[in-house]
């Protein structure tokens, strides 16, 4: 490798405490986000070892995975969920960790609240026991998901042991077309790379499309990095980033801000730095996307037909098993397929921009009678903005209800489960078999595509409705 450094090298190298020969690096972690599902066994591990949390001030806990999205003021009905939530609260209190539980004004999905309160900053290392921690890479941080043993490791030592991943740069040039959102960009990339195409790599996204993207959009793209197998994805911080984080509760203030800015402005890939792999796509070629199979790599432009097994990468039998589960046939068109559920939410698309996009389509229309819609803000802050901006009125007028924040139907741990056989258009991140409830069938798409489906009751190209509304 050349001496020129990539953005990833700069951040990684500055966090290496110790290198083990023919082994992993010991990496210092600046921010550790904790939630109720992947942490209890880690806290138990600390207890068994008789040790505490090394840096409670760098650790933040929120309840999100397992929480109901209605009647949050009432006790949680499911005893197992209630117990997990209680354990998180107890563990956080015992170790002096800030805890944003159910009903707390800062409560929300871990990857939504981190950036909202300025816990997420450029140049930091951020981990959480959730694979979509890659979201925080949008700020030029190295952020990735970890397992419970590693949660325990970070609680105990503020470090993690990781071999340094290889680097990949994905450039998207040009301008996105009308109706094409960051979600479509991400689904497009995954469809090109397949669900394992970036395994072993850490990705940097570069090019005009990302330079012109909002922070919300960058978060959506980085969030989905894991779906092509990447450890994480990141985007060099720029004025859009600095503008977004300035003044948030946990970001540096005054002189500390200036010092931080001096450092943050050095966070970019140097001209001539080499990547292990580099790919370039033309952004103007991307269409609104939709998935048709049981992994996020099985996606295509919404106007296309489902590919034939021979035309796809990977095993034909696995491909056919997948279509069989979805009850689709090779060569089918997705447009016009009747749907049963719509889910707007998750750490992928549960931010204010996503609700604005959804509202722009449903405005003045009515929810289709055959559709059950779950609209779940990513946090209380998003919920407040929805109300303040008048979006709630548009949604209510169109026959939609707003639920309370949480992961909800993204992983269906709570009661928000799509029933067996039902077809959902979902703005979340995974269309695995049963991900949204046993037997459920998921089509991943952008908030615009979800909105178009919600008002027409079937898979619809959102551009048609956008033209009508224009």
């Amino acid at each position: 490798m050349s001496a020129k450094k990539t953005l990833f090298d700069k951040v990684w190298d500055s966090h290496v405490v110790h290198q083990i020969e023919n082994g992993p690096d010991v990496l210092f972690i600046d921010r550790h986000m904790v939630h109720e599902v992947t942490s209890p066994v880690a806290f138990l591990g600390l207890k068994n070892r008789g040790i505490g949390v090394m840096h409670p001030e760098k650790t933040f806990a929120t309840a999100d995975h397992n929480t109901p999205t209605i009647n949050q003021h009432l006790p949680v009905a499911d005893p197992l969920s209630a117990n997990q939530l209680k354990m998180l609260e107890e563990n956080a209190n015992e170790h002096g960790i800030s805890y944003w539980g159910l009903g707390h004004e800062k409560n929300g999905i871990v990857h939504v609240v981190g950036p909202e309160y300025g816990i997420t900053v450029p140049g930091a290392t951020i981990v959480c026991g959730d694979s979509h921690t890659s979201t925080h890479g949008a700020f030029g941080a190295i952020a990735f998901g970890i397992g419970t043993s590693e949660v325990e490791m970070v609680l105990a030592t503020q470090c993690i042991m990781q071999p340094k991943p290889k680097s990949m740069r994905i450039n998207i040039t040009g301008e996105l077309q009308f109706g094409v959102t960051p979600k479509d960009v991400a689904l497009f990339i995954i469809s090109q790379l397949t669900t394992s195409g970036a395994t072993g790599y850490f990705v940097e996204y570069a090019g005009d499309v990302f330079t012109n993207m909002t922070m919300e959009g960058r978060m959506t793209v980085c969030n989905l990095s894991i779906e092509m197998g990447a450890r994480g994805g990141m985007i060099a911080p720029d004025d859009t980033t600095f503008h977004y984080i300035k003044g948030r509760e946990f970001t540096p203030k005054g002189e500390a801000w200036n010092t931080a800015m001096d450092y943050w402005q050095t966070l970019y890939t140097e001209e001539g730095a080499e990547f292990h792999k580099e790919l370039t796509f033309d952004g103007s070629q991307i269409e609104p996307m939709i998935t048709y199979g049981t992994n996020p790599g099985m996606g295509m432009g919404i106007s296309k037909d489902i590919p034939f097994a021979e035309a796809t990468q990977g095993g034909a039998s696995t491909y056919k098993k997948s279509l069989n589960y979805m009850q689709f046939d090779e060569g089918d068109s997705m447009i016009g397929k009747p749907i049963d559920f719509v889910f707007l939410g998750s750490c992928t698309n549960g931010r204010i921009e996503d609700f604005r996009a959804f509202a722009s389509i449903v405005k003045g229309k009515k929810k289709a009678d055959n559709v059950t819609a779950w609209l779940v803000p990513g946090s209380h802050k998003v919920e407040s903005a929805i109300k303040e901006e008048g979006i709630l009125d548009i949604l209510t007028e169109a026959g939609f209800e707003l639920r309370e924040p949480g992961c909800s139907a993204c992983l269906a741990m709570n009661d928000d489960k799509v029933p067996p056989g039902k077809l959902a258009v979902s703005t979340s991140n995974r269309n695995f078999e049963g991900r949204q409830g046993p037997g459920s069938r998921t089509l991943l798409a952008s908030p615009l595509v979800a909105a178009a489906a919600a008002v027409t009751g079937k898979v619809t190209d959102p551009r048609e409705l956008m033209l009508e509304n224009a």
């Binding site: 405490v17 110790h18 020969e21 023919n22 082994g23 992993p24 210092f28 992947t38 209890p40 066994v41 138990l44 591990g45 068994n48 070892r49 040790i51 090394m54 397992n66 197992l80 117990n83 997990q84 354990m87 026991g129 959730d130 694979s131 998901g145 970890i146 397992g147 419970t148 043993s149 590693e150 325990e152 490791m153 105990a156 030592t157 470090c159 042991m161 071999p163 669900t195 394992s196 395994t199 072993g200 197998g229 450890r231 540096p252 500390a256 931080a260 992994n295 990977g314 095993g315 696995t318 992983l411 269906a412 741990m413 067996p420 995974r430 695995f432 078999e433 049963g434 991900r435 046993p438």
Partner: protein
Amino acid sequence: MAYDKFTTLTSTAVPLPIENVDTDQIIPARFLKATERKGFGDNLFRDWRYNQDNSQKADFVLNNPKYSGKILVGGKNFGSGSSREHAAWAVYDYGFRVVISSFFADIFRGNCLNIGVLPVQVSPEFLEKIFTAIETDSNAEFNVSLSEQTVTIVVTGESESFDINDYKKGNMTNGFDDIDYLLNIKEAITEFAKTRPF
């Protein structure tokens, strides 16, 4: 947590020749509500293994008495998806100590190594040979040697080597975990922490 040491294993194997087996299949999210690491094996591959009325699905390999053993053999890109270590726990708790595939998702591989399941990555060709060997004889045995870093089809004697870094190999051989290591260098970590600006 510390786990049993691993040196070598000779066992029959259970074949799962499906690609992209994701962690939601290995253990669906609704079974992640426990607060202790116990009993996850019961729900390993829950929705492939059981019908919604909890009766067994006869055509799923774990319900076929012909196949058993401590080795699970999966198709390419095994363990993609979520970071839930519960997936590795379920594999371990069910009784598997080794998972063989031609390609593993990163987080799943790391989780396995952290809890005492050995992920063995072989070439696609060798994976096919393993599947064929099981198909020919469900009692076919395989030897996995960590010290030699080899996996051998006992009946034919065909063998392939696999990668594992020296550090992790040492941990698995001795039953050590990363936290033991890190606690030993805690002073260096404390010093380093002082240099972090935020």
